[in-house]
């Protein structure tokens, strides 16, 4: 076994070796280093398709790593301060699902904030565990869900001593962190695991003056979206685990749903990106934080926009704030966030991460430069000059407390009927409805449909949010429980 040295990238090195040996492929993939698909090769490049290869002895096997993949996982574990790390090729969705499926099984209770990503509730549909929701605090002005308060979590644990795990967003899409260390301690004292969805927190492991990472806070598992702030290829991700977790069991759970043909493009991108962050992460995220801070100051100087930051910190529901996140409240311009999002793309050729009812989020990362930040700020200044209007009549609320009637699995598989959406008030929904991004359900299976929720859906639809989830792609009908 190799020594742990963060300068190494074993999968990358094995692929370089593999290219050098000019191996004749009589295995899959059938494009055979791209020769069989010249159009694809000319589009993606020979270098890329040349390493789109299958598992083989010198390259190891993702389902049962024994050599280079195992080494890459050990290096990642060390870099992230975890006991174990697993390379994931099905996105952070698969990391989150594997984490939840590891922690609980049918009938088990899991404590979690309601503003989780759909992948968490999906896992509950799969395994039949029961969610105990902690309703997050809501910032009235911004309309966004904040973190969980310590007292709320303590109460949930007290009321549900039989729960097996607590799940925390670290941070939320908007960069808001709960008091993770305290929650970890509370969970452990009650004999529960603590899980963290760190889809937006990769950089916490490498930068300075950032919120605490899950592993540093003592959490048991974390799903880390390396492809977001970490710079790896889309769909590549890490699942991290601490000492308390049985790594062999985690691997079995992962193998229930993960492909047996793990992509070496994705795996090598994880390997190379981990090396990059381990060696240069500190300076990289210092730059990102500076860019975001500069952008916040400049955007706030335009007036009427509110690019929020650390001033939101209140020691509890906003225990910490991720300064690399650039979220801007737009309602005082007289435009919904989603409208600013659309204008930026359609008129200014600027694509941001998402816009919801009252805010936009621009994702800043490892690849950003000052000149693009200047464009974004200037475009926002122009949008204000050209479109500023009356903000009255704009909805602010992004988050509505759900009324949970049935477990997600029960509701998803129960006998159901399809009703025109506007006739569903009072019924129990059997499917998800969400704006994507951010992918936080407005309705999840098993939740009562209320007038407020229907109003939210039709308003978001009218403002141009991309709605997903229901069987009926046009969202004219919803499936509800047929009681």
């Amino acid at each position: 076994m190799m020594e742990i040295n963060q300068n190494r990238a074993p999968i990358h090195e094995a692929l370089e070796q593999f290219k050098y040996r000019r191996v004749v492929p009589f295995d899959v993939p059938g494009h055979k280093h791209g020769r069989g698909n010249p159009e694809l090769t000319s589009f993606l490049g020979e270098k890329c398709v040349g390493v789109d290869v299958n598992s083989m002895k010198p390259l190891d096997n993702l389902c049962h790593p024994v050599s280079v993949i195992k080494e890459a996982e050990m290096l990642a574990a060390e870099a992230f301060g975890a006991a174990y790390a697993f390379l994931m090729v099905g996105g952070t969705t698969s990391a989150v699902q594997s984490m939840v499926l590891t922690a609980c099984k049918r009938g088990d209770k899991i404590i979690l904030p309601r503003n989780v990503h759909r992948s968490v509730i999906n896992a509950l549909v799969l395994n039949g565990a029961i969610p105990v929701y902690v309703n997050p605090e809501v910032d009235k002005k911004l309309g966004i869900a904040l973190g969980m308060k310590r007292e709320q979590v303590a109460n949930a644990i007290k009321e549900n001593p039989d729960a097996v795990a607590v799940l925390v967003n670290n941070p939320t899409y908007y960069g808001i962190c709960s008091d993770l260390k305290a929650i970890v301690n509370m969970a452990h004292e009650a004999g529960m695991l603590c899980l963290a969805d760190e889809a937006h927190g990769t950089h916490f492991y490498f930068g300075e003056n950032l919120p605490v990472s899950a592993m540093a806070a003592g959490a048991d598992m974390a799903a880390v979206s390396m492809h977001k702030s970490g710079g790896s290829l889309t769909q590549s991700s890490f699942l991290l685990a601490g000492e308390n977790v049985n790594a062999g069991y985690v691997r079995q759970i992962i193998n229930l749903t993960q492909t047996t043909s793990g992509s070496y493009l994705l795996m090598s991108s994880l390997d190379i990106s981990r090396r990059n962050l381990a060696l240069r992460g500190k300076e990289i995220f210092k730059t990102v934080t500076e860019l975001a801070t500069y952008a916040r100051d400049e955007i706030n100087a335009i007036g009427d926009y509110y690019a929020f930051g650390r001033e939101l910190i209140d020691g509890d529901a906003v225990y910490d704030f991720d300064p690399t996140k650039l979220s801007v409240h737009t309602l005082d311009i007289g435009l919904a966030g989603i409208e600013v999002y659309d204008i930026l793309r359609d008129e200014y050729d600027i694509q941001i991460e998402f816009g919801d009812l009252g805010n936009i989020l621009a994702y800043l990362s490892i690849g950003d430069r000052m000149q693009e930040v200047e464009r974004l700020v200037s475009a926002l200044a122009e949008i204000k000059r050209r479109f500023k209007g009356d903000p009255s009549g704009l909805l602010t609320q992004e988050y509505i407390d759900p009324i949970v009637v049935a477990s997600p699995q029960e509701a998803f598989y129960a006998p159901k009927k399809s009703l025109p959406i506007m006739e569903t008030e009072g019924h129990i929904c059997s499917e998800f409805v969400m704006c994507y991004p951010p992918g936080i359900p407005i309705l999840a299976p098993g939740e009562r449909i209320t007038k407020d929720i229907l109003k939210y859906i039709s308003y978001a639809h009218e403002k141009g949010c991309q709605m997903t989830g229901p069987e009926d792609a046009r969202i004219e009908n919803l499936n509800v429980l047929d009681l």
Partner: protein, 283 residues
């Protein structure tokens, strides 16, 4: 020994100049800067491998970007120049006594230093007392200006590098805001000949046309630029570039020029059919 400098105008076309001597080469925070000495074109300034100017043909560019708006607007006092660290545009502007203030915004301080040293004639008027130099991103500088300038000249690099922000809708919108109600914006608009250049030109013209009530394109022949064929944009809130041309007034100033005349001024706005069609597509 033969030493040649080549610039690709497309992946399949290049322009090559024989170089006597390389006088300077360095990479600044923003770009690679080179100065060559050549027999045919004199000294040549290149940024990231693109010719910015040569001593031999730069008069065409500088005269056309400055005198066209100056002959239209009767009362230009305050001018903003973005880019143009070589000083050529400022050189032309300082010939007008009527101009009271010239703000020059150049992102890259190195360019000005290099030009002062190697193109001293060009850069000689940068020390004129009316000239204020700001080393700043143009997009950022102009964001804060409101109804301040009579004329804005955008003398930037091409839109595929650090100057990309100066070809955007947000930039043109900010220019509109920074101009007085009778202000004029003139910019280098690239070349319409090769496909990639033509697409960039169309995009930026479309953006200007959607921002200003009056937006016209004019042309000049510049041997060392792509296809030897270059365009400028004239955008204004009030003045029409031909109808409001006051030739008698401009000629009474007795400025000696090598390219610009008030007769050529009108002609420069008469464009070939293919170009008219291209512009119509995006207007």
């Amino acid at each position: 020994m033969e030493l040649w400098f080549s610039e690709h105008h497309t992946p399949d076309v290049k322009l090559s100049l024989r170089v006597n001597k390389q006088l300077y080469s360095n990479t600044s925070d923003y770009q690679r800067i080179d100065v060559f000495d050549t027999d045919e074109f004199g000294r040549v300034l290149s940024l990231d491998g693109n010719i910015m100017l040569t001593e031999r043909d730069e008069f065409i560019y500088d005269e056309m970007i400055v005198h066209v708006p100056m002959a239209v607007h009767p009362n230009i006092k305050k001018v903003l120049v973005i880019g143009a660290g070589d000083g050529g545009v400022v050189h032309e502007l300082t010939r007008y006594d009527s101009i009271k203030r010239i703000d020059l915004v150049e992102m890259d301080e190195e360019v000005i230093k290099v030009c002062r040293q190697y193109l001293p004639e060009n850069a000689s008027r940068l020390d004129d007392r009316r000239v204020n130099i700001y080393f700043e991103n143009g997009l950022k500088f102009i964001r804060k200006c409101e109804e301040e300038y009579d004329l804005i000249i955008v003398d930037s690099n091409d839109p595929f590098g650090p100057a990309e922000g100066l070809f955007t809708k947000e930039f043109y919108g900010n220019c509109y805001k920074a101009l007085k109600s009778d202000g004029i914006l003139v910019n280098q608009q690239g070349s319409p000949f090769y496909k990639e250049d033509a697409n960039a030109m169309k995009r930026s013209h479309g953006r200007i046309a959607s921002t200003f009530p009056i937006s016209r394109v004019y042309q000049a022949h510049i041997p060392t630029y792509a296809a030897g064929y270059w365009l400028f944009g004239f955008a204004s809130k009030k003045y029409h570039p031909i109808d409001d041309l006051d030739g008698a007034r401009w000629n009474s100033l007795n400025l000696r020029t090598k390219y610009y005349t008030t007769r050529l001024h009108k002609g420069a706005f008469y464009l070939p059919a293919f170009l008219e069609e291209m512009l119509k597509e995006v207007e």
